[in-house]
């Protein structure tokens, strides 16, 4: 029976495995091969050198990478704090209202990210929705908060909120109420219940939400372009420039590979630490 289950499972996963091989693994292999080609070639039939990787260090591309990773880290940390109360409410308090909230958050995804970000530009820019009205009514204006690192991080938090919120709510829903009550009964304060019961038991949700928002934020480009006015350059922006404007595929490939390896490593580390079966609602 177990044997049969196993075979059926493998067969069922076959279509997905084939799609992943063709649509995901093959492009990654091509990019990996291009990354070791000499500069500005458009064919894999060249002698490999690793010049593109030395450019990463010599021409300061590592700064873009550090900015991207740093901003992704900051936005993920902010997202955990911002989403926790909301996710807790969705999982334990709101009841039927949770559905309304879910639909509202999902609806925001129906509008293109760029359009939503430009909406924020119109809201926040000098003479925009907020500053413009304030100046018209009171005569006192203020400098636009746009075009800096904080506004980019704000954009990342805003855009990737759903990717943190839903896994987190799922994680918190897995914390049994009686475990929380038992901890309080045994003398735990609210803070102790949070740190010793809620957070450890919701860990799968926290890890999944963090991975999703971190990975997406690290590869994001629109926020730094639109809200950041390119105050800092994101690594994904460098990759795009190398492939298009720079016509340097090996450089773009090398930058991509570095990002893929770092993010892939973090993702594996995160997933290995948690019980994915638990969050999928399966008993072990």
């Amino acid at each position: 029976m177990r044997q049969l289950d196993r075979k059926l499972g493998m067969l069922s996963s076959l279509p997905m495995v084939i799609i992943l091989l063709i649509a995901f693994l093959v492009p990654v292999v091509v990019v990996a091969l291009f990354s070791i080609m000499p500069p500005k070639v458009f064919s894999l039939a060249n002698t490999p050198d690793f010049s593109a990787y030395t450019v990463f260090f010599s021409q300061g591309y590592y700064k873009s990478l550090l900015w991207s990773l740093g901003m992704a880290f900051a936005s993920t940390a902010i997202l955990i704090i911002v989403c926790w109360p909301l996710a807790y409410g969705m999982a334990k308090v709101f009841g039927r209202f949770t559905l309304v909230l879910t639909i509202a958050v999902v609806m925001s995804l129906f509008v293109s990210e760029n359009i939503r970000l430009f909406g924020w530009v119109l809201t926040l820019m000098k003479g925009g929705l907020i500053e413009g009205h304030l100046r018209a009514w009171t005569g006192v204006g203020f400098d636009s908060p746009l075009y800096g690192v904080p506004s980019i991080i704000f954009g990342l938090v805003y855009v990737y909120l759903p990717f943190m919120l839903f896994p987190l709510a799922q994680g918190i829903a897995m914390v049994p109420d009686d475990a929380r009550q038992a901890a309080a009964d045994l003398g735990a304060t609210r803070w102790q219940v949070l740190t010793q019961i809620d957070i450890p038991l919701a860990a799968p949700g926290i890890v999944v939400g963090s991975l999703l928002s971190f990975v997406l934020a690290a590869g994001a480009v629109a926020e730094s372009k639109i809200l950041g006015g390119q105050a800092v350059i994101a690594i994904a922006d460098d990759v795009e420039t190398a492939f298009t404007f720079g016509q340097n595929w090996p450089l773009g490939s090398a930058l991509s590979m570095i990002l893929i390896l770092i993010i892939g490593g973090l993702a594996l580390l995160g997933v290995s630490r948690i019980d994915l079966d638990a969050i999928m609602g399966r008993e072990r």
């Binding site: 049994p176 475990a179 009550q181 038992a182 009964d185 045994l186 003398g187 735990a188 038991l201």
Partner: protein, 356 residues
């Protein structure tokens, strides 16, 4: 006696919106006793225990622990502790970490915590190797013991139990009932236990309170509740029972359908026309043979037979109703169905209940 009570409840009321779950509960629990609250589901016993441990707020009344009001105190400040129906063990911690949890909250040193946890494993008869086991590796009975050890580590003034044995299979439940009683004797702690199972209550408790519809029907020692229930509800809740609806004829004798009861049992204040219930337990009714003499005798016909293991139960049509008779296995009747029999019982084995 009430002065020495450890826990005192006075007029405790709990409302959920328009619904009143508890109607003014008065209760005194003595230090060191094993007190059980029994009732069917919906009787309010779970609501009551949630108020006692501080998981819900009372609507009116007072709860006093050693003459100090605790009803407004949050659960984490109360010196009491509960073993949950689900046990509520922390799945992300080892057995040892679970037991040490209350000690860790009090910032006790790791060495002392470990020592206490190992002592408690010994007390609960679990091997010390369990200290590093994961909760998911423990069996149902082992989890019970871990939950108990964790509650004892807290060193509560009163240990509450919310039907912790109800999810276990029959044999394990029986074994743990005895163990719990033994643990009560060894620790000398005050145990307050709630259950819907009369059997569980009878095995373990010093005193029992029977609850119905948010009120306490009777509080007494197990034996007394069994032999002298105050109402039809308690009589029927405490196992199989035969009840004769009786009317007082003249203050000294009572009349049911076919039975006139005169001897000795009408000591209570019945006036003419008052109604009551005469109770006799199935094991106190016997089949009369030959010259056997009983205070009361009835003719009837055996309707059905059930083998209960060590005993046999018969349903007998008599006095216009079905009576239950229980005998030991030796007294089994061959081919009983439809047989005409005479039933007999003695006045000393009966009990008169005032209300109907």
């Amino acid at each position: 006696m009430t002065d020495a009570a450890l826990l005192r409840l006075r007029g405790v009321v709990k409302n959920f919106g328009d619904f009143t779950a508890l109607h003014g509960i008065n209760l005194d629990i003595q230090e060191g006793e094993f007190f059980t609250i029994v009732g069917p589901s919906g009787s309010g016993k779970s609501t009551l225990i949630r108020l006692l441990v501080g998981m819900d707020d009372i609507s009116a009344g007072k709860i006093m622990l050693r003459d100090q009001r605790i009803d407004q105190m949050p659960a984490n400040f109360r010196p009491t502790c509960m073993v949950f129906q689900s046990l509520a063990l922390f799945p992300h911690m080892t057995v040892g970490q679970n037991i040490e949890f209350p000690l860790k909250l009090r910032k006790e040193l790791p060495v002392e915590r470990r020592e206490r946890a190992l002592e408690l494993l010994d007390l609960l008869r679990l091997p010390q190797s369990f200290y590093d086991k994961r909760i998911s590796q423990c069996s149902g009975g082992e989890k019970q013991r871990v939950a108990l050890a964790r509650a004892l580590a807290f060193d509560p003034e009163i240990l509450f139990f919310d039907e912790p044995l109800s999810a276990l299979d029959y044999r394990l439940r029986k074994a743990l009932e005895k163990e719990l009683k033994d643990l009560h004797a060894r620790t000398g702690k005050t145990f307050v236990y709630i259950t819907h199972s009369l059997e569980e209550a009878m095995v373990m408790s010093d005193r029992i309170a029977i609850m119905k519809d948010g009120k306490i029907e009777q509080i007494a020692a197990a034996d007394e509740i069994y032999s002298a229930p105050v109402s039809r509800f308690v009589a029927e809740f405490m196992g199989e029972v035969n009840l004769f609806e009786v009317t007082s004829l003249d203050g000294t004798s009572l009349q049911s359908n076919s039975l006139t009861i005169a001897k000795g049992i009408t000591q209570s204040t019945f006036s003419v026309g008052d109604k009551g219930l005469l109770m006799v337990r199935p094991e106190d009714v016997q089949f009369a043979e030959g010259n056997d003499s009983f205070d009361y005798m009835l003719k009837g016909k055996i309707h059905a037979e059930f083998a209960l293991g060590s005993r046999i139960q018969y349903e007998v049509e008599a006095d216009g109703k079905i009576l239950t008779v229980e005998t030991l296995r030796e007294g089994r009747i061959q081919d009983p169905e439809g047989m005409q029999v005479t039933l007999g019982f003695n006045a000393a084995k009966t009990h008169l209940i005032g209300d109907t």
